[in-house]
């Protein structure tokens, strides 16, 4: 009945009017949408996202930048990808701040989705750590708006980019620091650049270095799946973070209509079928292994990637060491429930494809339906 919004067509589709599309930097456009009256209200929690229906079977997921307020438009931050189907459409409309009310542009959307919503600290005074890359700042901003006025517990945000212009909300974040002394913003550049005197590296490494002890903390991570996966592994293993206190909705980037070279490195994955045949498939990074195997017709996630049905279980050949130790309690328990459970088994819905998984070998446990 339900599945990931990017994979099946949700039933709760609404129509919204595009009210504004304006550049925040050369690569990010702020989009404001107003659900049409008669649809019912689009009510959501800070940190959740929606799916825009670009074509009948294509969706793009974006997080709301502000917490829900009746009668306010929905604000999204859209990262523009060269040649991207929706990116090009948005780019064309971002030339004027206000769109013509005589010729309204309608978009279909569904949601809300996602579970990366604010949870109270496990103990009063406990530190909350937030990580963002790129437009992953959008749900983080919504969470900050909700959380900062409500408590004086310390909150540290690490936001990563390649150049300072990527951090397009730096000034408002500095404003939040002044307004809320318990909030600390740490901008991070992934590589050293001339004139940059701030932090350099990955957001998760910087945060782990500053907060080696996270036993009482909660961590929120929004952005690329590779960052989210690396952060979970690092904090749980090295900082004592309770895995139930790691909150994230890994963001799967859409496939551009004319994919730009180098934008999404492609991997080779060798798939052994239940019939014993080995097939090579090509998959891009930034999606789950389940999505790649589903796209190639090898498996299907019945529960929609919620680590519930086990239908996407695979036996991982090589690269096991790189994947080992990143299982959640749900995944461990589910895998152990199979009579033929092996240490090499993983749920492919829980594996984000990153560059270092090139040449991965997997064996399908359950054939596609």
């Amino acid at each position: 009945m339900s599945s990931q919004p990017t994979e099946t067509i949700p039933s709760n589709v609404q129509t919204a009017i595009l009210e504004e599309a304006v550049h925040l930097n050369p690569n990010v456009v702020r989009v404001r949408l107003r659900p049409k009256s008669g649809n019912g209200r689009f009510i959501y929690s800070a940190g959740q996202y929606l799916a825009l229906h670009i074509l009948e079977s294509q969706f793009r997921c974006y997080s709301m930048v502000h917490d829900y307020e009746p009668d306010k438009p929905l604000e999204l931050h859209v990262r523009l990808y060269p040649g991207g189907l929706f990116s090009e459409w948005v780019r064309q409309r971002a030339t004027s701040k206000l769109l013509s009310s005589n010729d309204p542009v309608e978009l279909r959307l569904s949601g809300p989705y996602g579970e990366c919503t604010w949870k109270s600290p496990s103990r009063p005074g406990a530190t909350t750590v937030m990580l963002a890359t790129g437009t992953g700042i959008a749900p983080i901003w919504a969470l900050l708006e909700q959380a900062l006025p409500a408590s004086s517990d310390p909150v540290f945000l690490y936001w990563g980019g390649r150049v300072p212009q990527d951090l397009y909300l730096s000034d408002p974040l500095r404003g939040l620091e002044k307004a809320f002394p318990h909030f600390h913003f740490v901008p991070v550049m992934c590589d050293p650049i001339p004139g940059w005197t701030g932090r350099v590296g990955t957001v998760e490494q910087c945060a782990a270095s500053d907060h080696p002890e996270l036993r009482q903390s909660r961590v929120y991570a929004c952005g690329s799946p590779s960052m989210v996966q690396a952060a979970a592994a690092l904090f749980i293993k090295n900082c004592g973070l309770d895995e139930d206190h790691f909150h994230a909705d890994p963001f799967e980037h859409p496939v551009p209509s004319q994919e730009a070279p180098g934008e999404y490195p492609t991997l080779n994955i060798f798939v052994r079928t239940p019939q014993g045949h080995e097939e090579k498939i090509h998959a891009r990074t930034g999606i789950s292994l389940m999505t790649a195997l589903s796209d190639s017709g090898h498996t299907q996630g019945i529960c929609g990637g919620r680590a519930t049905c086990g239908n996407c279980r695979v036996k991982v050949g090589n690269h096991r060491a790189r994947l080992f130790g990143e299982q959640t309690k749900s995944e461990r328990r589910l895998l152990a429930s199979f009579e033929d459970a092996l240490p090499e088994h993983r749920l492919s819905c829980q594996i984000a494809l990153t560059k270092d998984l090139d040449e991965l070998r997997v064996e399908i446990s359950t054939p596609s339906i």
């Binding site: 009945m1 339900s2 919503t117 919620r306 519930t308 049905c309 589910l334």
Partner: protein
């Protein structure tokens, strides 16, 4: 390409279909719900209740599910299938909560839901009771009149309105069978234009108060009276 709509296509059995086992997993599902209810107390956070439910299902040999485990407290009882709950909701001493589980046992799918209350609020109690009663009157309408899936949910909508509730048609029944029923038909029962067969469909009733933030849910397999001893 047109979607198949005939009973021949939509009511197929999978390769492991077994009516006895379907009834066995149904029984296990109802027992699991009753056990989960006994573990839930006022003051508990909803997220903890979900974990307890998962533990109970795992001990009962039903770690796998064809859908996720839902325990919803208070205002979250209005959420539709798959929608995330508002976080951190604590069950009150005079409150309402629902359970919706879809376990897989061996090769067969179960699916069950029910609603419970913790105090003396008459509206909550009536809502929970009406969800069950609407389920049964709709089921009886099917048994007596050979109503189609579409007709059943028209009937359910009217029955809910008659009692002062709104029926959520996002939760409007579905196939069930040997795992995964998704291989045969993933759509709602409410879209089906023929009389559904017993044993292979689930009837869902999710009602909400028209203005207040609470609702109730009941679901079970579509079966004749002989399978419901406690009515």
């Amino acid at each position: 390409m047109n979607m198949p709509t005939s009973p021949v296509d939509l009511e197929r059995y999978g390769p492991n279909f077994d009516a006895e086992q379907m009834l066995a997993v149904r029984d296990m599902t109802r027992k699991a719900i009753n056990q989960i209810v006994k573990s839930i107390r006022p003051g508990m956070v909803e997220e903890d209740a979900v974990e307890i439910a998962r533990d109970i299902l795992a001990v009962a040999g039903m770690t796998r599910g064809w859908h996720d485990v839902y325990v919803r407290f208070g205002s979250n009882t209005t959420k539709t299938f798959g929608a995330p709950s508002d976080p951190g909701v604590i069950l009150g001493a005079d409150d309402i909560f629902l359970i919706d589980i879809g376990p897989v046992w061996k090769k067969w799918e179960g699916d069950g839901g029910d609603t419970f209350t913790t105090g003396t609020n008459q509206e909550y109690a009536r809502c929970a009771k009406d969800a069950r009663e609407i389920f049964h009157v709709v089921r009886e309408h099917w048994a007596k009149n050979s109503a189609s899936g579409k007709a059943l949910y028209d009937f359910a909508t009217a029955e809910a309105e008659k009692r002062g509730w709104k029926l959520n048609l996002d939760l409007s029944g579905h196939r069930i069978g040997d795992f995964p029923h998704a291989a045969i038909y993933e759509g709602p029962l409410a879209d089906v234009g023929f009389t559904p067969k017993p044993m292979i469909w689930v009837l869902e009733i999710h009602i909400r108060h028209p203005s207040k933030p609470f609702g109730a849910f009941f679901e079970d397999m579509l079966l004749g009276d002989e399978f419901f001893s406690t009515r």
